[in-house]
């Protein structure tokens, strides 16, 4: 995914009418369409300027909400639901398989910068636990085999939209 240029970023802000009420919509859209999955300083400044907010306010928001990131993210961040319905229905298995297969502990990127996995609270897919969420896509009813398959498919670039 190519990074957004200034005009594209401005278009996203204008789509939301430069409305400070919709700052989260704007920041999420900018982040999900960014190359490295985070809001860089330049983008934060742009949002502050166009929404007539202070940069401090924008950063207060960026650091408060869990989905928003201020640092570059690996290509695929595998989010594993850690809330009780998932955790006790295979969630721990998912964490073990990821640790064994990727060879890194939780919250640490792999050396090639391709993967990282972390625990997140409920994504509302409790009826298909255990789950991994990547961006907006939920992979449910996972088994050890299907997780390894998923990682292989991601490496092979079978999920272009993620």
């Amino acid at each position: 995914m190519a990074s957004l240029n200034l005009a594209e970023k401005e278009a996203i802000i204008l789509e939301h009418e430069s409305d400070p009420q919709r700052i989260l919509n704007i920041l999420l859209e900018l982040q999900f369409r960014s190359e490295e999955g985070y809001i860089d300083e330049e983008t934060a400044k742009l949002v502050a300027d166009r929404l007539h907010l202070s940069e401090a306010r924008v950063y207060e928001i960026l650091t408060y909400y869990a989905i928003l990131k201020t640092k570059p993210q690996p290509t695929y961040v595998l989010k594993v639901c850690n809330s009780s319905p998932c955790h006790f229905s295979g969630g721990t298995m998912v964490m073990e398989v990821l640790e064994n297969t990727l060879g890194v502990p939780v919250d640490e990127p792999t050396e090639d910068g391709m993967f990282m996995y972390n625990k997140i609270p409920c994504v509302g897919a409790c009826d298909s636990s255990p789950v991994i969420k990547i961006k907006d896509t939920v992979f449910g009813n996972l088994t050890e085999e299907s997780i390894i398959q998923l990682l292989d498919d991601l490496r092979a670039g079978h999920y272009e939209n993620l």
């Binding site: 009420q21 809330s83 009780s84 229905s89 897919a125 409790c126």
Partner: protein, 432 residues
């Protein structure tokens, strides 16, 4: 007249082929509730809502009729209509189904509120995890606007103007708390406000604001279409209607079910129509009701329990959001509660000390039991800390953190005792 056992809220979810199409929505009795509302006196609308006895479906179970009456009599303009779609209670995925597969019913509910309170602006605050559904909902809004159900002079009624804005959350559980949600809409960080004042008097931008859950709004058109009594008859006397229940955990038929309030709990858990019993080969041990903030019940002690507001209150339990998380006998209560505590440590917003520090202290204490290094006196310490967090926290999040822990300790004291290390001696209190 509505038949019990017939889906009321999920009928369109199951049967519509295009969830955002206004014409198809109307084929399934869409906008009939609104049509009735505009032909009625305002007082008559409020009376129907009182008779229906719909309790708030977000979890607080506050009678919706009372909330609306309060809002109706609150002074100040403009008034705002807000829908809380920040569904974040673990084990809950009911609002998701309505937002994605029947968004127009939520819009109709909000629209009726807009008409009654002469509000011109509505907001729906939807959790960031549901970004794709936000787009679907926006489409439903756009279609309703094109069809003349949103916008200006709706249905040709002069001055009946109403629009709805979709506001995204971005991953903060506490924004499900209504005042935190309003702060988040105002573009601030989503931390709760000190209450009172009630949001119906001082809400969004300090104006009177109605905040209801998605499922509550979806129930409004049903009440005004079929009548308050018909809605009440779907449930039980202490709370009318059907409830969307989310079954998850170690249960065979995980998923979303529409259940008449007043259904026996065992039917919900064990009958093939609903849960179908254990999904593992092990017997079921306990049930966590209403999300992480709810209480826990032991399956063996709930044989005669009725799934209704009073039926659960009688057992010290609650309906909450409608989450029903079932665990089998392989799960230790302590392990479970450590997981719950970790959730709250992560989600406490940090504004008030009892919750910010209390959640961490609770987690540390529970981990001592988990690692079998608790000391004599730690049970008492845990109890004190639970009381502390419950009574001193500023908002509903902190006040309900200990619900599960209190019931867990009461139901399975032997598991806590087993967590006390053999070699440790009782600590003597040092007098000052």
């Amino acid at each position: 007249m509505l038949e019990r056992n017939q889906p009321v809220l999920l009928e369109r979810v199951y049967n519509m082929t295009n969830a955002v199409d206004v014409e198809e929505y109307k084929k399934f009795k869409g906008f009939e509730g609104l049509a009735n509302a505009i032909s009625m006196d305002n007082e008559a609308i409020l009376d129907e809502l009182d008779i229906a006895h719909l309790r708030g479906r977000g979890g607080a179970a506050y009678p919706l009729g009372k909330k609306w009456r309060h809002m109706y009599h609150s002074k100040g303009t403009p008034k705002y209509i807000v829908c809380n779609a920040d569904e974040g209670e673990p084990g809950t995925f009911k609002d998701k189904a309505l937002l994605e597969k029947d968004p127009l019913s939520v819009i109709e509910g909000m629209l009726i509120a807009g008409y009654l309170f002469k509000a011109q602006t509505g907001y729906i605050y939807m959790r960031g995890e549901y970004r794709q559904i936000q787009k679907i909902f926006q489409q439903a809004i756009d279609n309703a606007t094109k069809a003349g159900y949103l916008g200006e002079n709706i249905l040709g009624i002069q001055g009946f103007n109403f629009k709805i804005l979709v506001i995204s959350g971005a991953g903060a559980y506490v924004c499900g708390e209504n005042s935190a949600l309003l702060n988040s809409i105002e573009g601030k960080t989503g931390r709760p406000r000190v209450k009172p004042p009630h949001l119906a008097d001082v809400g969004l931008y300090l104006k009177p604001t109605l905040v209801n859950n998605v499922e509550s709004y979806a129930g409004i058109p049903v009440i005004l279409r079929e009548g308050g009594q018909a809605f009440l008859d779907l449930g039980s006397e202490d709370g009318g209607g059907t409830k969307l229940v989310c079954l998850s955990g170690h249960i065979k038929n995980r998923g979303l079910f529409e259940v008449n309030l007043g259904t026996p709990l065992y039917e919900l858990i064990f009958s093939e129509k609903y849960g179908g019993g254990s999904s593992t080969s092990n017997p079921l041990k306990f049930i966590h009701f209403g999300g992480q903030s709810g209480p826990i019940g032991a399956v063996d002690e709930l044989e005669d329990c009725i799934y209704s507001y009073e039926g659960l209150w009688d057992k010290g339990l609650s309906v909450g959001s409608g989450a029903v998380v079932v665990m089998d006998n392989q799960v230790s209560m302590i392990d479970y509660l450590v997981n719950v505590a970790e959730f709250f440590v992560h989600e406490s917003c940090g504004k008030c000390t009892p919750c910010r520090l209390g959640t961490t202290r609770l987690m540390e204490l529970l981990k001592k039991f988990q690692e079998k290094r608790a000391q004599i006196g730690d049970i008492e310490r845990l109890e004190k800390m639970m009381t502390h967090v419950t009574h001193l926290s500023a908002c509903g999040l902190g006040q309900s953190v200990a619900n599960s822990m209190k019931s867990g300790l009461k139901l399975y004291p032997e598991e806590f005792l087993a967590g006390i290390g053999k070699e440790v001696r009782k600590l003597e209190e040092v007098s000052w």
